[in-house]
Subunit: 336 residues, 2 copies
DNA sequence: TTTATTTACGAAAACGTAGTAGTATTTATT
DNA sequence: AATAAATACTACTACGTTTTCGTAAATAAA
């Protein structure tokens, strides 16, 4: 089954490659009869223009990359879903890369992407990334990056975020209004903008309600589930136990559920839990979990759209802009 | 920031393009001094070989596609995760396409992929696909397809599946042994091999335990959540209610949870529920859900590996083979 | 009839890479 | 000293597509 290309079509029809190419593009240079013959033959043999050869002409891959830190967070799934929809619509192709929260992998991936494989990148930082030179390198190679959620302030570009500070504030205030006096904050990484902002919201809410801030109530978790389990267990078995937990990300809340289950700590009676999460099953958990739901699909779609907006009119400088799409607090059983 | 290619390097160094190319490939034809100079310059300017130009030479894109029906099923996430790991390892790139269970979208996507954009495809069928000519077309264009989970029997290729029949049998038998006398099966689509096999397992288990098969106990669900909700609600409000439900896929079990919650049907007291699922939160649901967990990560990795095995030694005919990776039954609260 | 214009096509170059073939220059062999 | 062989490089081509430019033939205008 030899490949069907312009040359093949041309030789089958006894015309030149140029003629075939132009006929397929409905060029005025080609006569009606010839056009018809070419079109028919192309259909018959199932001709499809080779995308890589096209790239050679246009220097445009019609491909973008999405780089995400992990696949176990339902937020990212929805982002991919949103991004894929827009990409399909625009006839772009979407490459997926997972850093597994590993800065080195992120660097390797970004370095690989500097060779023109993609026209642009949408990404969310790994929580272990502290140096941003691989990102600058991409920008310098003229490959635009649009960030979503876990953004990099250092890079001047479009960033799709949610109202992390306000949501962190609202989440904490909700716990306070639900009767919590001693709220712990589960941080995932001091490197992440979102984590810091959510924590700022948390701290500000404490201040507003005259609850003393306590550094020991800020638990620095990591990407290691077992270590997180231990930290949360320590927190919940200490002499002075918190009565509320605000988890910065979904999996820390689930670990909290796990610890509570094992220690037989009743949620919400003894401990109220709230977290940022896009879990489809939040409603069916025991107890149903109060969440701040990020507009993940919209964020993915927005990131892709913004990227395409720039790619469509290449040459225009991408502007440094934060696009905020608000999250929503859904009160469920874990804070009642 | 003009692009760094071989030509640029050559002109900067005052040597020919061939020399640069060969030096970078550590060819014996190039002297040590020249090699060193080229390597240094390449590093300095951040030269990265253009993948599309490479494609033109080798007719190999180093890219594969994964085509999945939806993103809301945790099974597929884990498959992507497994596939991406293997792809990274092999220095392949992974394009992602979502059919949203829409046969037409699947056809469009597969048609797009016949132009050489990818070296191979791994996919799981949409549940609305009934005609397979788009798949045959890909095979005819010499683009190998490896199926996972939702396979197409018609295509002779490698298929990664789990032991659906045995698992369906085991799930049903587990319900029976937990005391169920009247078990309903929630089907997602008669088009799907997995659904049929799971149902066969269900039916055979009923036979073995002398429970009469009843067509009305096989609920044909669709991709529409609302309609599924209604069907399950009807099932659970009828004069003769089942005491067990075996959901063929995750989301039907969640809809069952939803209906049960709304109707205040106690699980597992009044209704036992089991399903195929890879939910990370199965343990924390109310009640924790008994699941048959598919080795999703392994299946994704296996599918990618098999595809690469074939791509590595192109020309060898891909053989028609079923690779079975067993699922595991995890008993939790919903069947106690 | 001669010249201008339109129509319909083909030749060739370019995109970036890599390999084949060719060629000076140096070094080794007889 | 004459020839063979090794070394170190360059020119050129192909991959598939698109487009610019060139041109022959047909038609229109003078």
């Amino acid at each position: 089954m030899s490949k069907v290309n312009l040359k093949k079509l041309a030789s089958e029809l006894g015309v030149s490659i140029s003629t075939v190419s132009k006929a397929l593009k409905d060029s005025y240079e080609i006569g009606q009869d010839t056009k018809k013959k070419v079109l028919e033959k192309a259909k018959e043999l199932g001709y499809k223009a080779n995308p890589y050869a096209r790239y050679m002409r246009y220097q445009k891959s019609s491909t973008i990359a999405i780089v995400i830190p992990e696949m176990t967070n339902s937020f990212f799934l929805q982002v991919i879903n949103g991004a894929e929809s827009i990409a399909r619509e625009k006839d772009y192709h979407l490459l997926i890369y997972i850093t597994h929260e590993d800065a080195q992998k992120e660097i390797d991936i970004l370095n690989h992407l500097q060779n023109g494989r993609v026209d642009g990148i949408m990404m969310s930082l790994s929580c272990t990334t502290t140096d941003y030179s691989h990102l600058h390198a991409c920008i310098n190679s003229n490959i635009p990056i649009v960030f979503f959620d876990r953004i990099c302030h250092e890079i001047e570009t479009v960033k799709i975020i949610t109202d992390d500070f306000a949501s962190g504030f609202a989440a904490t205030e909700h716990l306070i209004q639900s009767g919590c006096k001693d709220i712990a904050y589960l941080s995932i990484s001091g490197n992440l903008s979102i984590d810091n902002k959510r924590m700022q919201g948390y701290l500000e809410a404490l201040d507003k309600h005259n609850i003393k801030q306590d550094k020991r109530r800020i638990i620095k978790c990591t990407n290691d589930d077992k270590s997180n389990y231990k930290k949360i267990k320590t927190l919940l078995t200490g002499s002075k136990k918190p009565d509320g937990i605000f988890a910065s990300i979904e999996k820390l809340a689930l670990t909290t559920y796990s610890v509570s289950k094992d220690l037989e700590i009743k949620i919400p009676a003894k401990l109220k839990v709230i977290c940022f999460s896009n879990l489809a099953t939040a409603d069916f958990l025991n107890p149903p979990m109060t969440t701040i739901t990020q507009p993940a699909n919209e964020m993915g779609a927005a990131a892709a759209s913004q990227l395409f907006k720039y790619l469509d009119k290449k040459g225009t400088e991408i502007k440094n802009e934060n696009i905020v799409i608000k999250s929503a607090l859904t009160v469920r059983g874990s804070t009642l």
